[in-house]
Amino acid sequence: MTFQTKLATAYSLAVVILCAMCVVSYCNATKIEETRQWGRHSSAVLHRNEALAENLARLEEISFEYAGTSDPQALASLDVARTGALSAAHDLRSLTADNLSQQQRLGLLDPKLVRYLGLLREAIVSPAIATAAGNAHAPATVRAFLPERAALSHDISDLIQQINAEEDRLSLVRRQAIDEALRRSSGYLAFGYASAIFLSVVCILILRGEMRHRAAIQNELEKAQVSLEHRVHERTEDLRAANLALQAQIEERKRAERQVQQLNASLEIRVEERTAELTQVVNELDSFCYTVSHDLRAPLRHVDGFSRILESEFGAELSDEARRHLRRIVQAVNRMGRLIDDLLDLSRIGRKKLIRRRVSVQDLVERSVANYRDSPDGRGVEWRIDPLPEFDCDPGLLEVVYANLIANAVKFTRGLPHRVIQFGALDTSSPATLFVRDNGVGFDPKYADKLFGAFQRLHPEDDFEGTGIGLATVQRIVLRHGGSIRAESQPGSGATFYFTLGAQTEGALARKLEEVKHVGV
């Protein structure tokens, strides 16, 4: 049961009890008042009864007094007493109208009273008349009526006594009823007070319990509030600390970012400077190459030219040895010319812009081989061309690669009875590795690393001509494509050159982008 229900129940009960007490008290009071009324009524009856008795006694007394004196004064008093007795009897009749037993008694009383009064009057009047007329017999007449009068007086007194007794009895009964009602009322009041006190105590107990409960709850709440405030404070502190740390981090980041920006800026400046420097170097290199190609070749040409003129036009005048020396001069000059040409090629390849396209390696090899098929150099060569893939590469540079590798293969198979030069692709790798294989003189694998260096030769010049720049050029082209090159060989059992041309997908992607750009333009 909740606190409110308990309290409401207790209060309702108290209110009901109080109301009941009010009703009961009111009823009691009304009843007491009514009983009192009846008590007063009884007193009035008794009073009138007494008045009747007194008047009758007075009448008796007066009548005797009159009989002795015949005083007219007494006669007047007698009338008063008589009227008083009749009035009292009349009052009694109306007062006890509700009481049957008293009415019966009064009914008995009334004729007796009338007779008695008549007798009394008769006794008085006769002597008085006699007296007035001088009649001497009058007292005797009065005395003649005395016994009846006495009997009537006795009866009347008796009836009055009875009425008195009856009223006394009624008064007693009513007093008892009042006492009873008062007792009952006190009992009710006591019960009501007790109940009210009990309920008040119950209410107080309920309230006290509730107040204690509330106080406990409030206490708990205060504790909880304090702990909550404490926690909030702690959390706030934590947050403040975290915030400060975060701020510090942000500051650090910003600082780092500024640093990075500064570094970037300085880096960009440095890159620009380097680019400018590099551009200058490239320009210088260009002009150097120009100088080499133009100025350095000129004196060579002159040496060669004049040597030949000397030989052809003045040969007859020279000794055999002098002519032999002249030929040596011409040979040396020609070799130097080739060296310069090859070096220029190498440098030009290094500077040339790489333009990747989809290239049919098959077609390119077929074209390169075609140059040799009918030439004296390519005589007797069995050309084996396997199916070759398409590649993303610079076609001009790939042609230079194949030209050099074919020239090499042709050179080192020269003089063999059966010359085989094979072109193929290994599809074991992705992108595919291309290879050129010959059955020529081959080389010692321990010198394989020297193969691709400029001016590196593994064979004597007298056996195989060459400047030693061809393979360096090939390697440079392959490296510029992001690929790699290696050679396998054993002396006397031919050589195989394997090379790749870098990631193909990127090239394809770049080409696609390029196509898109073109379509866009």
Binding site: C289, Y290, S293, H294, D295, R297, A298, P299, L300, R301, H302, D304, G305, F306, S307, R308, I309, V333, N334, M336, G337, D341, L344
Partner: protein, 154 residues
């Protein structure tokens, strides 16, 4: 052969050794009687436009071909070529660049400026002699010279 003979080949070459070799080769090829050798671009332009030192020469006598080196003092070969090819009096004369440069750039500029032939001098003199022979035969024998009306202003 005398100085008054009309010039058949004009050789513009500053390097005396190169000039001597070229003249030697040209003479050996026997395609021309009168070869004039000039040493720089300014002189070549004076000769062609009959001014300065050459103000009094017979200007209607034009060389059949001009052999021009690229690197020349004062006015360089490409500039000489530009001036010759931009003037109606000289535009029709075949100009052959005879140079040791094998730079793509030089070649491209030469052709863009209307050169008629671009020949790289081989180091080997025998090859050079062969080239000069072919050159002489082609331009002076096989090829028909431009008619006089080709030099009138349009």
């Amino acid at each position: 052969m005398s100085e008054s003979d009309p010039v058949e080949i004009l050789l513009v070459e500053d390097n005396p050794a190169d000039a001597e070799l070229a003249l030697h080769a040209l003479r050996k090829s026997k395609v021309a009687n009168h070869i004039l050798h000039l040493h720089d671009g300014a002189e070549a332009l004076d000769f062609m436009f009959c001014r300065g030192e050459y103000a009094n020469r017979a200007c209607e006598n034009r060389p059949a071909i001009i052999l021009l080196d690229l690197k020349l003092p004062k006015v360089d070969g490409l500039q000489v070529l530009q001036e010759l090819k931009s003037d109606p009096r000289t535009r029709a004369i075949p100009v052959i660049l005879l140079t040791s440069s094998q730079e793509e750039h030089d070649m491209a500029t030469g052709y863009q400026n209307g050169v008629n032939s671009y020949i790289q001098k081989p180091v080997n003199f025998a090859e050079f002699q062969d080239v000069v022979n072919k050159l002489g035969v082609y331009w002076l024998v096989v090829n028909r010279k431009p008619p006089a009306v080709a030099f009138l202003e349009a």
